[in-house]
């Protein structure tokens, strides 16, 4: 006797038969009939016509029958609202039943009947159930409030159910607490600003207590709720972390991941030198690894989240590379994710293992996977410089297999490797050219054409190769056409004598025979450039290209921060902010990681991360498929960002050209063709570089000290900290670098002492900066003209500008530097005093100052104390002025001097300050106001350093 018998009657009169049975006198027959109805419902048949007959069966002592009827009601009440009223009385009666199971069942079912007319009748029973003596009923009623809110939010608010729900957070039973939290979270989601879950240390404490005792699902609700809380200080943060860590050993992976979310967020507040911080990092690794031994679906979600975690805190899993090795029977979606994480974890230490694995994967069967593995080898080469050579030879091995898609994928990544390490691996071009004919994917063809064009001077038959592509020009995809056009123009500029015909041909194909506006426009630009000024054309087309970044497709930092706050959610699976999921009206709050301990800045500030001038430049990354067009434009036309400053003409031209594409084309075509040199001058306004434009001292003789000290009326150099060792000889293979920063005559300078402590001579010094918060970049090459012999030291001064690429660093004034010599490349990071960036024209008008001070919200105000400073207010003011912190006004109240000061950073950020000096008191108080409050901490440090110097 099984339920399958209920499916056997599929004859025409089925509904009639059921109707008759439902109205039968016999209890047994009734129940069988209801079961049949339910069975039909489960397979999607419409049995709503039986509504009155089924509802008639509701008045029964038989619990199973009652449950079955409830099941039916929930499904069909909405389609039969008038009939549903019939059920109300029974619900009200059941809510008074002595058996708590029945009371809970009734309150549970009531909430599922989504009929407006009924809801009003449900308020009284619900109110009673919320205060029921039995916690089982209370917890069911808590959920019912959320259901009711979904149907009629106004009603719930009017009836005061929300307050009752809030009270339940303090219930004695942990399950009731958990359900109340779940219900409130759900309601809060539709009212983002309602502040329903008012989290304060007391409620947090209650939640943490309930966390230990409630069910696994309740734990998830509570942990997700905790993650929305911002602790007051690092101590509270630590104590919450301590109470959450045991959840990492829970068998339910959703609990584990929610706990990871809380810890990842609250960890931000812990000082990094705290012992507990290290302990916590260690505790996070095992549970994440364990998630990978669960079912594949869980693994997939876990891997997507681990991807975020390794980007934020790579140290957690840096020793766990092996667990991400792909197993042959992993589903493809798991394999692809593991591959991604392997690349993120790849480092010099494990690169050999990773490459060996990737090579195996490249011989697998699944095409998707193989392609991604090949691409991964290229990404390793770009990420870990030491491995580049090995990666290239692995790729060459793979090309030898002649497997079509492997070859094509390999060529695409080799192009990227060329872009990262120019002039290093060109010997492989011959091998690549052998495979020219087998390329049939646009991306691979475009990559190959780019290579041929870029290295045209080294390929004897470059013209023949490109010509062969030209035959089917119109059948190629846009990507290939654009690339071909550029490549032939490059070729022409390199070998003008032999290729004139070819370039004519491609230009006419692009401009006359093509319907594609992008292609036509580019064709015209090249044409005009070439016809007016070939020298300028050369500078544009053959300009030095920016190196592609080693951080391959990292998530943009602010998005990453937001996603870390949403670990375990759909947002984390799709790596998109939740606002992309939810319709605008819902107004999802953007979550941010809390700031680290000690900084008095507001964490909720909306413009954290992207202050006025410190916009987050999109990182230059390996182009994704299909993005080659945009990349091409960047490739050819963005100003170089590395290896010294470009000659001014080039930079002007490039900007001009970029503008041309951006919309200046009209004027160009409109007949304003005044020759390329004027064109360059016309468009080529150099990028705003306040540091470079030296301005005369604005103090206007305000300060006698200046003239005395400076002698020649030049502002004295700003405060410069003593030199510190940046690169110890141990790490620099004998090269020791110590240095400091200074601002002299409006120019930022990096002053270094290079000492050779090795046995051999050092030559070929060069320097590069990583992207940094204020776009600091060397304004010239590193001038070490004579080789540095053993035990010799040399002082070098490197002028800097602030027009380099920008990326927010942590700490803000951190600068990562790479120094190269004939031995190796060395990396170190140092911190520059932010006072280097205070520009000379940083004195604000009084009125402007007042207005700005009022205008900046108080949330952006930070207050600091400077201790042990024995200066008078005037002396302090003078000292500060030397570092371009200008005093605008002074007020004395009750023996306390208040100095109002302004400062402007090189990127245009203004910092306003109020310095309070009490005569005889060595502790100064400084209040900083700034639209980009994250600089406050650094500015304060400068105050401190300047005043104590």
């Amino acid at each position: 006797m099984t339920d399958s018998k209920y499916f056997t009657t599929t004859k025409k009169g089925e509904i009639f038969e059921l109707k008759a049975e439902l109205n039968s006198d016999k209890k047994e027959k009734k129940k069988e009939a209801v079961k049949k109805v339910i069975a039909s419902m489960t397979v999607g048949k419409d049995v709503s016509a039986l509504f009155p007959d089924v509802v008639n069966c509701m008045q029964t002592d038989n619990l199973e029958l009652k449950k079955l009827v409830y099941l039916y009601l929930m499904n069909y009440a909405k389609s039969q609202p008038d009939m549903a009223i019939m059920a109300v009385n029974t619900f009200v009666k059941d809510c008074e039943d002595p058996n708590p199971l029945i009371r809970a069942l009734a309150v549970r079912t009531m909430g599922c009947i989504r009929v407006d007319k009924i809801t009003e009748y449900l308020c009284e029973p619900l109110r009673k159930c919320l205060k029921d003596e039995d916690p089982y009923v209370r917890k069911t009623a808590a959920v019912c409030v959320a259901k009711l809110h979904d149907i009629n939010a106004q009603l719930v608010e009017d009836q005061g159910f929300l307050d009752t729900l809030k009270d339940l957070i303090s219930d004695s039973n942990p399950m009731v607490v958990a359900n109340a939290v779940a219900a409130l979270s759900e309601i809060a989601e539709s009212h983002p600003n309602s502040n329903l879950l008012d989290l304060n240390p007391q409620t947090i404490n209650k939640l943490l207590t309930a966390l230990n005792e409630c069910t696994e699902w309740g734990q998830i609700f509570i942990l997700d709720c905790l993650a929305n809380y911002t602790p007051r200080d690092d101590r509270e943060s630590q104590s919450i972390c301590e109470r959450v860590t045991p959840r990492l050993s829970h068998a339910n992976s959703a609990v584990v991941l929610s706990a990871v979310k809380v810890l990842m967020k609250f960890m931000e507040m812990l000082p990094k030198d705290l012992d507990y911080y290290g302990t916590l990092l260690k505790k996070l690794a095992p549970p994440l690894v364990t998630l990978l031994s669960a079912e594949p679906e869980l693994q997939y979600v876990a891997l997507r989240n681990i991807n975020l975690i390794v980007q934020r805190r790579p140290e957690i899993l840096k020793h766990e590379m092996k667990v991400f090795f792909v197993k042959y029977n992993d589903p493809i979606y798991v394999k692809l994710e593991k591959l991604d994480i392997m690349i993120r974890l790849a480092s010099q230490a494990n690169i050999a293992q990773v490459l060996a694995e990737l090579k195996e994967y490249a011989t697998e069967v699944d095409v998707d996977f193989v392609r991604k593995a090949v691409r991964a080898i290229g990404r390793c080469a770009i990420k870990v410089e030491q491995s580049a050579e090995r990666c290239v030879s692995t790729l060459l091995d793979l090309i030898q297999t002649k497997v079509n898609y492997v070859v094509q994928e390999a060529i695409v990544v080799i192009k990227d490797i060329f872009r990262k390490y120019p002039n290093k691996y060109e010997s492989v071009i011959a091998t690549l050219c052998e495979n020219l004919d087998s390329l049939d994917e646009p991306e691979a063809r475009a990559a190959m054409i780019w290579i041929v064009g870029e290295y045209a001077e080294r390929i004897d038959n470059a013209d023949e190769l490109l010509e062969s592509f030209l035959e089917g020009f119109h059948d190629e995809s846009t990507q290939v056409q654009l690339q071909l056009l550029t490549a032939i123009v490059k070729l022409f500029l390199k070998k003008p004598t032999e290729t004139q015909e070819l370039v004519q041909q491609v230009l006419s194909l692009a401009t006359q025979d093509s319907d594609n506006p992008d292609l036509r426009d580019r064709g015209y630009i090249y044409w005009r450039l070439l016809s007016t000024d070939p020298v300028a054309a050369k500078e544009v087309v053959l300009a030095e290209k920016p190196l592609i970044s080693e951080e391959t497709d990292l998530i943009e930092p602010t998005l990453l921060e937001e996603l870390i706050c949403h670990i375990g959610t759909l947002a984390s699976v799709y790596h998109k902010p939740p606002s992309a999921f939810v319709e605008g009206s819902r107004g999802v709050q953007h979550k941010r990681l809390p700031g680290s301990a000690g900084s008095g800045e507001s964490v909720e500030s909306p413009d954290t991360g992207s202050a006025a001038g410190v916009s987050d430049a999109p990182p230059a990354v390996i182009p994704s498929q299909g993005d080659l067009l945009g990349d091409l434009l960047n490739l050819d036309l963005t100003p170089p960002t590395t290896t010294g400053p470009p000659p001014p003409a080039t930079s002007g031209m490039q900007l001009g050209a970029m503008d041309l594409l951006g919309g200046g084309l009209d004027s160009l075509l409109g007949g304003d063709l005044g020759g390329s040199s004027t064109m360059g001058a016309g468009f080529g306004a150099p990028p705003a570089a306040p540091a470079a434009s030296f301005s005369a001292p604005v103090s206007g003789g305000l300060d006698d000290l200046f003239d005395l000290g400076g002698g020649v009326g030049m502002p004295m150099g700003a405060y410069s900290p003593p030199k510190t060792v940046w690169l110890p000889a141990m790490k620099g293979k004998g090269l020791e670098i110590s240095g400091t920063f200074a601002r002299r005559a409006g120019v930022i300078q990096m002053e270094m002492t290079l000492t050779n402590k090795a046995m051999s001579i050092m030559t070929d010094f060069a320097i590069q900066f990583n992207r940094n918060s204020f776009g600091l970049a060397p304004a010239g090459p590193l001038q070490v003209l004579t080789p540095l012999s053993p035990n010799q030291s040399i002082e070098v001064t490197l002028p800097l500008n602030t027009v380099g690429p920008v990326m927010k660093m942590d700490p803000l004034n951190n600068l990562q530097v790479a120094v190269k010599n004939n031995i190796d490349v060395f990396y170190f990071s140092c911190q520059y005093p932010i006072s280097m960036l205070f520009v000379e024209d940083g004195k604000m008008e009084r009125q402007v100052f007042l207005a700005t001070w009022k205008d900046i919200s108080n949330d952006n105000e930070a207050q600091f104390q400077i201790k042990d400073c024995h200066l008078s207010s005037d002396a302090a003011s003078n000292k500060l002025q030397g570092s371009n912190i200008f005093t605008i006004a002074k007020r004395t109240v009750d023996g306390q001097d208040m100095l109002y000061q302004s400062t402007k950073l090189s990127n245009g950020i203004w910092v306003l300050a109020e310095l309070r000096v009490q005569t005889g008191n060595p502790t100064f108080t400084v209040c900083l106001k700034c639209r980009a409050p994250e600089v406050s901490q650094c500015v304060f440090q400068s105050y401190d350093a300047v005043l104590k110097n």
């Binding site: 339920d3 399958s4 339910i38 069975a39 489960t42 397979v43 199973e64 449950k67 079955l68 058996n99 199971l101 599922c112 039995d134 089982y136 959920v143 979904d150 039973n173 759900e186 539709s190 696994e216 699902w217 998830i220 045991p246 050993s249 829970h250 068998a251 339910n252 992976s253 959703a254 095992p286 549970p287 690894v289 031994s293 079912e295 594949p296 679906e297 869980l298 979600v301 876990a302 020793h319 092996k322 090795f325 197993k327 029977n329 493809i332 979606y333 060996a356 694995e357 195996e360 069967v365 699944d366 497997v403 898609y405 492997v406 759909l570 799709y574 998109k576 939740p578 999921f581 939810v582």
Partner: protein, 510 residues
């Protein structure tokens, strides 16, 4: 030689063209769609069989048209293998989160931001309620065929106390009303309500032939009349008033070794996934403690909620009030850094005959780390590439099968060799709070890890090694509450050990 060379150029081209129509990033659609109405956890559930029929649907809120599953079917069609269907699929108004168990897709429909792991865990819990995990009929038959069968295991093994024994389409259809009642109890408005099987069984009695008969005659029902007592106590996983005449507790320590072995036979990575599954049938509210000989191995553990975490952290002793019946006490993971010993080595070699589409595949399997225990039921399965037409095998030991449809080569080697003992050892098990003397047993088993040897073709070695030990001890007279369990092992000893060679001849498409 890469395996893709087995594939004919035409087939390759075809596959390649296929790819072009869908970029590899197809798992992540361009833009997730917004949702219209406020959040609910799980909106609806569809059960779909391998051939793409929806055979059950359950809605917790309003009815979602089953046409939403079309997006799932699309993904299913795209996937080369059933297990490759992505677990999270976005549709214009919903998200589909699915798990595949027992060849059935459990597809949950959700409408907005919900933790996907929450949904997936819940779905697995649903399946576990239908059929206890790790208890497939196949595995069961292995249990039965094992040469040493514990004689004291009760005839109606408590392991079988899930709802349907096996989770199949037929079983679900046969019990559709029970399934419906269960789902209703497990989820209220999308919030998990009762997911502990002990509580569910109090609410809805599992169908048995006997009970169905009785119900039919007497008109009684499967639905319990009482409030499930456990649901409100501090130990929600255990019901009160449990009574047994024979008080027994069994613990199975099962360790699986997963390893990847490279071409030369050396181990690239190996790790142990271990679990302790328990079957506890004890009267009243017993409070158990379990200690280990080598607890330091357990640095990466996941516990059943019943385990007192604080005590574990402080003393490395497991202290808990167990649920009634079957449950997984803990699972642990021993990572590759702890140098996991691999009991066998595998080597293989592939050669092609010049100018022919035939080749030869040699596979050698041998013992390693001979510490005195037999390796049993060694099964090698090799997924040959699709291009392979046929294979002839010459096993030097055991039997083989080759499935020309799936291209799966299975070589049942049988017993080979001694190996090390399992890593985790239970020291003692004590019970407090109750007066009776329970019968206790502990069984160790190292089994069926996923061994994977890397090369052009990837042979999987399913290694099943069983060690059993059940030593019921009489309590010592002076320590009536404290019993020592399990100090020795009994196992089959194998004398026949040596390397085997297995030749496979195969042909490929020309």
């Amino acid at each position: 030689m890469p395996c893709s060379n087995f594939v004919s150029p035409a087939a390759r081209k075809e596959r390649f063209l296929d790819r072009r129509s869908q970029p590899p990033s197809s798992f992540l659609p361009p833009s997730p769609r917004p949702s219209a109405s406020p959040a609910k956890m799980i909106h609806s559930l569809f059960l779909i069989n391998a051939s793409g029929d929806i055979f059950l649907e359950k809605h917790w809120k309003s009815v979602v048209s089953r046409s939403v599953c079309d997006y799932f079917f699309e993904a299913q069609e795209r996937a080369t293998e059933p297990e490759n269907v992505p677990p999270v699929i976005p549709t214009p108004h919903h998200y589909l989160i699915s798990v595949l168990r027992h060849r059935i897709y459990f597809v949950a429909v959700i409408q907005s931001e919900v933790p996907p792991l929450f949904v997936i865990e819940f779905l697995h819990r649903v399946v576990d309620t239908f059929q206890v995990r790790g208890h497939s009929p196949l595995l069961f038959s292995l249990f039965m065929s094992a040469s040493f069968m514990p004689t004291h295991l009760p005839a109606s093994s408590p392991r079988l106390q899930d709802y349907f024994g096996v989770c199949t389409e037929a079983a679900i259809k046969d019990n559709v009303v029970v399934v419906y009642e269960l789902l209703e109890e497990m989820l209220d408005n999308g919030f998990p309500l009762a997911t502990e099987s002990n509580i569910l069984k109090e609410l809805i009695k599992p169908p048995t032939i006997l009970r169905t008969m009785v119900n039919t005659i007497t008109g009684s029902t499967n639905v319990g009349e009482q409030l499930p007592t456990g649901q409100l106590s501090v130990v929600p996983w255990r019901r009160t008033g449990v009574k047994y005449t024979n008080n027994e507790a069994y613990f199975d320590v099962v360790e699986e070794i997963d390893a990847i072995i490279d071409k030369s036979g050396s181990t690239i990575t190996a790790e142990i996934q271990g679990v302790i599954d328990a079957c506890v049938k004890l009267t009243g509210m017993p409070d158990l403690t379990l200690s280990f000989m080598n607890p330091r191995l357990l640095d990466d553990v996941s516990f059943h909620p019943c385990v007192r975490f604080k005590r574990w952290e402080a003393e490395r002793i497991l202290s808990f009030i167990p649920p009634d019946g079957n449950f997984r006490l803990l699972s642990y993971h021993v990572s590759s850094q702890n140098l996991v010993a691999i009991p066998v080595y595998v080597k293989h070699n592939i050669t092609f005959r010049e100018g022919s589409s035939q080749g030869r595949f040699d596979l050698t399997l041998g013992p390693k780390q001979t510490m005195g225990k037999a390796v049993e039921s060694v099964l090698v399965s090799s997924q040959l590439p699709r291009g392979v037409l046929n294979a002839n095998l010459n096993p030097s030991q055991g039997t083989y099968t080759f499935d020309p449809v799936t291209k799966l080569l299975s070589w049942d080697v049988g017993k080979i060799n001694p190996q090390k003992l399992p890593r985790l050892k239970v020291n003692r098990l004590d019970m407090y709070g109750e007066k009776y003397k329970p019968f206790k047993g502990i069984k160790y088993m190292t089994k069926a890890g996923k061994f994977q040897s890397l090369d052009v073709v990837e042979p999987e070695i399913l290694l099943t090694q069983k060690l059993r030990c059940l030593n019921p001890y009489a309590p010592s007279p002076d320590h009536s509450q404290s019993l020592h369990v399990c100090r020795g092992f009994r196992s089959e000893r194998s004398t026949f050990v040596s390397s085997r060679c297995n030749d496979v001849w195969f042909e490929t498409h020309s």
